[in-house]
């Protein structure tokens, strides 16, 4: 059952994603050569910002109605519960971005050959962004300035994923091999899956104690 709130949770990042990408041609001019060169970075940065926008919502609702504190008392390890929440959050807020990305990339004149690489890089990368973002969301629970504060905490940590995510797309656009990029992005994902839920769980305990 998709409630109104859930629909909004899913749509806002996607719309934001689309708007941000549309801003770039407006800012730098419509010349296809320029846009094509910028495309990997622009699409990736826009997806990154859209993911970041959705982070406060990760724990906010459960925090407000007290469910979050119940989770701390649950028999299951908190890290596992956090992972479940992040997965659910990503399916709602991250996956739509991945699905929309080819369209937006075409708007940015990205060569069609690079589209599969784009989708794969975002498929591997946005979960990492959500996982790292969960740590930021957990640390800033209930604080004023929430969304912007999360961004400040989490953006520096995003840079490796951005570098290699956008890098893979740029390589694909020039016809180079992207296997190494995908392996590295996959490694980031595995690392994030292993450590981020645990760190976020520790952060939740700190915030809720």
């Amino acid at each position: 059952m998709v409630s109104l709130r859930r629909a909004q949770d899913a749509l806002t990042p996607v719309i934001f994603f689309a708007i941000v990408v549309a801003l770039f041609p407006l800012g730098v001019g419509p010349e296809p050569g320029v846009l094509a060169m910028l495309a990997p970075g622009v699409v990736w940065v826009a997806a990154l910002l859209a993911t970041m926008l959705s982070l406060p919502r990760l724990f906010a609702n459960d925090y407000a109605d007290g469910t979050l504190e119940q989770l701390l008392l649950a028999p299951q390890p908190l890290a596992v519960l956090v992972l479940a929440k992040v997965v659910a959050h990503w399916l709602l807020s991250g996956l739509p971005l991945v699905l929309l990305s080819p369209l937006l990339a075409l708007q940015m004149q990205l060569p069609a050959d690079a589209l599969p690489t784009l989708v794969i890089s975002l498929l591997l990368g946005t979960p990492v962004l959500s996982l790292i973002g969960a740590i930021g969301a957990a640390l800033t629970l209930g604080l004023r300035g929430g969304g912007v504060l999360i961004s400040l905490l989490v953006l520096p940590l995003y840079t490796p994923v951005l570098i290699f995510g956008a890098g893979s797309v740029a390589a694909a656009a020039t016809g180079l091999d992207v296997e190494a990029y995908n392996s590295l992005l996959g490694a980031f994902l595995i690392l994030a899956l292993t450590f981020a839920p645990w760190a976020a769980a520790a952060a939740l305990r700190v915030s809720l104690d």
Partner: protein, 276 residues
């Protein structure tokens, strides 16, 4: 909510005298005595280092006199990294052992480290301008320093957003630890990114092995910066301790004994504050 100290069970562990200095109450006067010594040593080493840097060190074959900027830039960059590691380490100790002094150390490190990073970035820019012709060049080291600055600012922003000192310390510690684990990954990513985009003609400052005549002032300045860090972090720690322990009897007495007003009635008349 105050938590009672856990009562140790079993035999008293054999501890070094070090154990006594782990409480804010005993550390405060110790720091006060150390500061002048470290300050003096800092001044001495800065003087010697600057003399070597400005007068003795010869100009570089390629970079001329601008190489003297290196004697500020490199020690500042080293300190910016070192202080972050100290901050993260102190944060970890504070988390694991619930040690207040470690929390105070971590909090005191943040602004100092951030300033070192700013200095490294500014001097890096000033060093790069005559070399590369632009005020900002996205080379690997400067970009990494910039990201490090953002990491520092994040820790500081998080701390100032949380009122409860305990939660602030623990949250900042987690963030600093996540950051310190990420720093090698970030550095590796930025290095890779830089080699990909960097035009072949750009020279990379500091990579070739350094001549001994340049190494001596560099090391002197590095040691001077290190001693400076110790001096300044002790200064900040004392302030932080006064702030955090303001409800304790020893701080109350300390502040009031310096008060110009006549001494208050003996402390036994009123209930003691929560002990530190």
């Amino acid at each position: 909510m105050a938590r009672a100290e856990p009562i140790p069970s079993g035999p008293e562990p054999v501890t070094l005298e070090l154990h006594r200095y782990v409480s804010p109450k005993t550390f405060y006067p110790l720091a006060g005595r150390l500061i002048p010594w470290f300050g003096g040593l800092t001044a001495l080493l800065l003087a010697v280092g600057l003399y070597y840097a400005l007068f003795i060190a010869p100009p570089d074959y390629q970079q001329g006199e601008s190489v003297r900027i290196m004697f500020i830039h490199v020690p500042a960059a080293w300190m910016s990294m070192f202080v972050y590691v100290v901050m993260a380490g102190a944060g970890a100790v504070g988390l694991v052992w619930n040690a207040k002094l470690a929390e105070v150390l971590a909090r005191s490190c943040a602004p100092i480290g951030a300033w070192f990073t700013v200095l490294a970035l500014a001097t890096g820019s000033l060093w790069g301008k005559p070399m590369w012709g632009t005020w900002w060049a996205w080379d690997a080291r400067i970009t990494s320093e910039l990201i490090l600055l953002f990491l520092y600012l994040g820790v500081m922003a998080l701390q100032s957003a949380i009122d409860d000192p305990k939660r602030a310390a623990r949250a900042a510690a987690i963030l600093a630890l996540v950051g310190v684990v990420n720093i090698p990954i970030i550095h590796f990513s930025v290095e890779w990114w830089n080699t990909l985009h960097q035009p072949a003609s750009v020279t990379r400052i500091g990579r070739p092995s350094i001549h001994i005549s340049l190494l001596i002032p560099l090391l002197l300045m590095a040691v001077a910066f290190m001693l400076y860090f110790v001096t300044v972090v002790l200064l900040r720690m004392r302030n932080e301790i006064l702030e955090r322990e303001r409800h304790s009897a020893w701080v109350t007495e300390l502040i009031q004994s310096a008060d110009a007003e006549p001494a208050p009635p003996a402390a036994g008349n009123r209930p003691r504050g929560v002990a530190g």
